[in-house]
Symmetry: C2
Subunit: 443 residues, 2 copies
């Protein structure tokens, strides 16, 4: 939908046409169209959305638009919206709203919903409890397929997903039946003869990244969430798990570039916040690299005698850094996808060692030939070739060991990524280089 | 399930117990248990899996296990397996098998399936066509809800998903009905009055990354795939889209560390293949950093006069590299998530410029103070502080502009990541540093 046409229709009060457009549009697309409107147009357009879509559109809006709408809504409009919002979206909304609006919402909902909301708001930020919803289809084992279908028909419209039905007995989860099973099984079959009893579930305090991993592994549509007493309290649906996966990948990538992660997008983050997220690691790395500089000064005599030696410093440092970050990146990603584990450390070291021999040999040979051609100096070629091999080996060892050690002591391996490894490897490459040079050239 | 117990039961021919265990286990877990067995145990255990789970377990195995099983299967076993495998899993299997086994499979399936398989195998590797399946629920607009439900009951068991039903008219897709709509709507309602007609679909040649993005955006369970004539040919399901998302994130992360991506996991990739994936970029970057070295030799007089100058080279190079990769990483991720676009280039540049002023000032001040304390040399402190500010600004500019330019000319922005930017920024930081030093110290 073209924004300009839509705004023109709004301004000309062609409400019927606007309603027809909103009627055929997807909720996600409506939310994105509305995000381009100014406040007044937004309020007007939102009120023209068909009632059965309004809550879903609202859930897809960003928090500033949501805040604005909650502010201007009448008591009645707010109540209607809250009735239609799923519990996880309500909680997401409350987490973003200023305190006065939170109170307004808590005053609007029923006492039982208020208690539930408070409970959900109390789960730790990165837990399954914080992303779960409490609306799920709940059936009994002595129901038939037909009775279950009738139950879904009656209540299902208000559930976030009806495709996985939970068989409970006094809030204890005893089985799972998929809608596919219900739809393809005869009416008089009993749920207890149809249900799966081997259930994979998570706890309210399970880390949401772990939850997302279960979705990728098992291709679930939803996963049940149990409280500490083992009673069923909600479900996490696949769409929320997908969002978590994307967020976690972004967080890892950000950390790997020595930036403190932010939950906001690039443009949503202010200049000051960007600077604040980037400065700490830069300072740490800057002061670490001073060590490298200090080491260089110790070899002042070497490069005073052969000034050409200085010109190879960038090449050795960069190569070392790149080799180290190649290894650390692959290991960090392997750890994130559970393809590499701490117990594999010796396999990894052996593998990286063999890789570094090949890589080191190729780089040393190429560069040795280059130096022979350019300077016709066999001694120099040998120094650089040996330094390269040594640097590559050390870089790959440091690069693969550090993330594994971090995972062992429950640090996020992602912070052991390129920048830190580059800085550490610098120290080694300079030491290797000047020691070899001093020895071979008798400096 | 404990592997040792399972193997012991197999060896003791306690087949009934083994069958009971396999009966309650999840297909994904069975596949992972089987992956720990040797070939003979694998063949035995696979044949004990309940028939309704066997195909799903098979689809979750890695290709070496699949190849082995296809090799030893009887004609009848192979036929049974192929009948139960979804078309996308069959195609995945064929892509991994050696030629003689591919022929064996093509001889086993029906003529119509063979034609279909050949067509699916012909779609480009990264296209929607290559990950779609052809089994979906197909209904007509003049059917009632009850008729549709009866149709699903009859045919649904063989469909990969029945939760989105496709309304077609002579293979043309005219509407979509969700199973939720069917299950919560009265029996005599006509599909044409229930179906959504605003349909989001992809083409067979749409890039699978684009397909995955649509899933994240719209929270679909499945998306229809149309051929070039606009006729419906299949669907992509959310589980395949999730796999694509994880793969693409891995690919980006790998590229950002200057490694040619591999489809295999860390341990599946051989030492030689690892080396081959890492060497090309290392060579390119190594030779680029020689430029930096050559520039340094031009300032031989400077560091001959003040040898201390050399010791600041690593700090400036590392800081420049880190600043540049911070910016490039955020922009590359923003581009991947469509949160940043090429048209935002001036907004990005302005933002990064302001960030670099803050970051540069903080780093310059901290380091200036350090140098004053350590060397009590105001001139040196000034040179380093100014060089740091200059380097940070240039690094952040290069870091944000290069990925945006890459996206503009349809190169993958991920290759513009840290390593390349580090090497480029090195050149600038050395030039800035020695020029400022030469000027201020009159060298």
């Amino acid at each position: 939908m073209n924004k300009d046409i839509f705004v023109k229709l709004l301004q000309q009060r062609q409400y019927k046409a606007v309603r027809s457009i909103l009627d055929v549009m997807n909720e996600v697309d409506i939310a994105s169209l509305l995000s381009e409107l100014d406040d007044k147009e937004l309020a007007l357009a939102f009120r023209l959305i068909p009632k059965d879509k309004a809550a879903e559109v609202f859930a897809n809006m960003d928090s500033s638009m949501q805040t604005y709408l909650v502010e201007i809504f009448s008591e009645k409009e707010l109540k209607e919206l809250l009735d239609d919002l799923y519990m996880d979206d309500t909680v997401d909304l409350l987490e973003e709203l200023p305190a006065n609006l939170v109170n307004r919402i808590l005053d609007t909902v029923s006492t039982s919903d208020r208690a539930l909301i408070n409970q959900l708001l109390n789960y730790p930020e990165d837990s399954a409890g914080s992303i779960m919803t409490t609306e799920y289809v709940d059936i009994r084992e002595n129901m038939t397929v037909a009775q279950s279908m009738a139950h879904i028909k009656e209540t299902g419209i208000h559930k976030e997903t009806i495709y996985t039905c939970y068989v409970t007995d006094r809030r204890r989860l005893i089985g799972i039946v998929s809608a596919k099973d219900l739809m393809t099984t005869d009416d008089d079959v009993l749920i207890k003869d149809l249900m799966e009893t081997e259930i994979i579930s998570v706890k309210t305090h399970t880390d949401k990244e772990e939850v997302a991993k279960l979705f990728t592994k098992y291709d679930f549509l939803a996963i049940p969430v149990l409280d500490t007493d083992g009673l069923m309290v909600g479900i996490v649906t696949f769409d929320d798990a997908m969002d978590v996966m994307v967020e976690e990948a972004t967080e890892d990538i950000t950390k790997m570039a020595a930036i403190n992660p932010s939950e906001k997008t690039y443009f949503e983050t202010s200049v000051f916040a960007h600077a604040k997220n980037r400065i700490p690691w830069l300072l740490i790395l800057m002061f670490t690299s001073i060590i490298t500089g200090t080491i260089i000064t110790k070899y002042e005599n070497a490069f005073a005698a052969i000034p050409l030696l200085v010109s190879f410093i960038p090449m050795l440092m960069d190569t070392g850094g790149n080799c180290g970050s190649q290894s650390s990146t692959l290991i960090i990603r392997g750890l994130a996808l559970s393809q590499v584990r701490f117990k594999d450390i010796f396999r990894v070291i052996f593998k990286e060692f063999r890789i570094s021999l090949i890589v080191g040999a190729v780089l040393a040979l190429t560069n040795g030939i280059r130096i022979m051609i350019q300077y016709d100096n066999a001694g120099l070629a040998l120094v650089i070739a040996l330094s390269l091999i040594g640097t590559v080996i050390v870089a790959k060892m440091v690069g693969c060991i550090l993330p594994l050690l971090a995972s062992k002591i429950h640090l996020d391996p992602a912070i052991m990524a390129s920048p830190l490894i580059t800085t550490l490897v610098d120290i080694f490459s300079i030491l290797i280089y000047f020691n070899i040079a001093t020895m071979l050239f008798n400096l």
